[in-house]
Symmetry: C2
DNA sequence: GTTGTTCTTGAATGGTCGCTCATATACGTT
DNA sequence: AACGTATATGAGCGACCATTCAAGAACAAC
């Protein structure tokens, strides 16, 4: 009996995610989203109770669910090893150097912009970091078994370092998207695995 | 003959720097600074032509000039070596774990929040990264001469990696200020220097 | 066709933003 | 004491912010 929705909430959420991703939370206004989607404020607020902040948290979740797996690629597979870690880093560098990828990672941006003042957002970021660390650890363990890294490697510790390295890569890449520099960082990170 | 200034511009600039540091550019309003300093908008704008953005750039420069040297400490000395790099990293970890240091680094925050849209700010950030890299390279060269790291170490490449690592450390620390995690990252970064 | 329910619409709310300007004020000079 | 100059003041500018709400509209059930 009710009047049917004339827009797809997921479409709006996707636009919101993209804006938050490339411009950040504060720099993205509801009016931006209204203009970009054609959905009027009233409809937007009734479709997303909790307003801008709820929309932001849902954007983070959508990013984790749809964008992150695409970037991780084979690194989340159970047989991932050094090559898959390398593939992930190479993908990061490629993104940072391309016009579309300069926005970096929504979750890294969020860690800096909002983690200190927004516990819910910080929790999503922590979940992402833990997920990265889990992948990396698993891949390093596979690599150790296959003799692709030195036997003395501390897999869990090195995984934590690799996670920090890729966060740092994105900070550096955002200020200075220089291919030589970014590749040097990645090469040296892998040289350390022996 | 003119009426004398009743406030010290440097004091205002210092307050601005601190606010930008802990809350970011967008989240800091001129009214914040007016309330914090007692200097009225008109006086503030006449003392800092160019408004908020000029005040921000001057804050970045002040940070580079006063805060960064304090954090780098002995790492900028010509005889710096591994111990000084280690000291710098330990200082970062200590800061990230303390209530006053949770704001991280103004220049890292700026890289994420504004580098993509603000060339002038990005240039200051790039200068900072270059400065860090210079210190690290020099310290690693000293360390090589003294046999404190493996002879095969690529000093310039490892320096770039160390710079990225400390940026990453601050991203991770902001979302997850966990001492064990941060120390593991630092320990593994140094283990790689062999 | 009437009713009930949900959605759409867009004007409007109260607040904050960065910034300006007319006016008043305090000094050194004369 | 009068003047010229640079500052202090703070109300006020237009723009934008997130959010709300009363009114109209589209459907299913009856």
């Amino acid at each position: 009996m009710p009047r049917p929705r004339e827009f797809e909430p997921d479409t709006v959420l996707n636009v919101a995610m993209l804006r938050f991703w490339e411009r950040g939370y504060r720099a993205t206004s509801i009016e931006d989203l209204v203009k970009a989607t054609g959905v009027k404020p009233g409809s937007l607020y009734s479709a997303f109770p909790g307003g801008k902040h709820a929309l932001f948290l849902k954007s983070l979740e959508r990013y984790s669910r749809l964008v992150v797996p695409e970037k991780l690629g084979a690194l989340e597979a159970s047989d991932a090893s050094v090559a898959e870690i390398r593939g992930y880093f190479d993908g990061l560098v490629r993104d940072l150097l391309s016009p579309e990828g300069r926005q970096g990672c929504l979750l890294v941006n969020t860690a800096i912009e909002k983690a200190a003042e927004d516990d819910e957002a910080a929790a999503v970021v922590r979940g992402h970091l833990a997920r990265l660390e889990r992948c990396m650890t698993h891949a390093l363990e596979n690599a150790t078994r296959r003799g692709q890294v030195r036997a003395s490697l501390d897999c869990t510790g090195s995984a934590k370092l690799l996670v920090a390295t890729c966060q740092g890569l994105m900070v550096v890449g955002k200020a200075n998207p220089d291919e030589t520099l970014l590749r040097a960082i990645v090469d040296n990170a892998f040289a350390a695995l022996g």
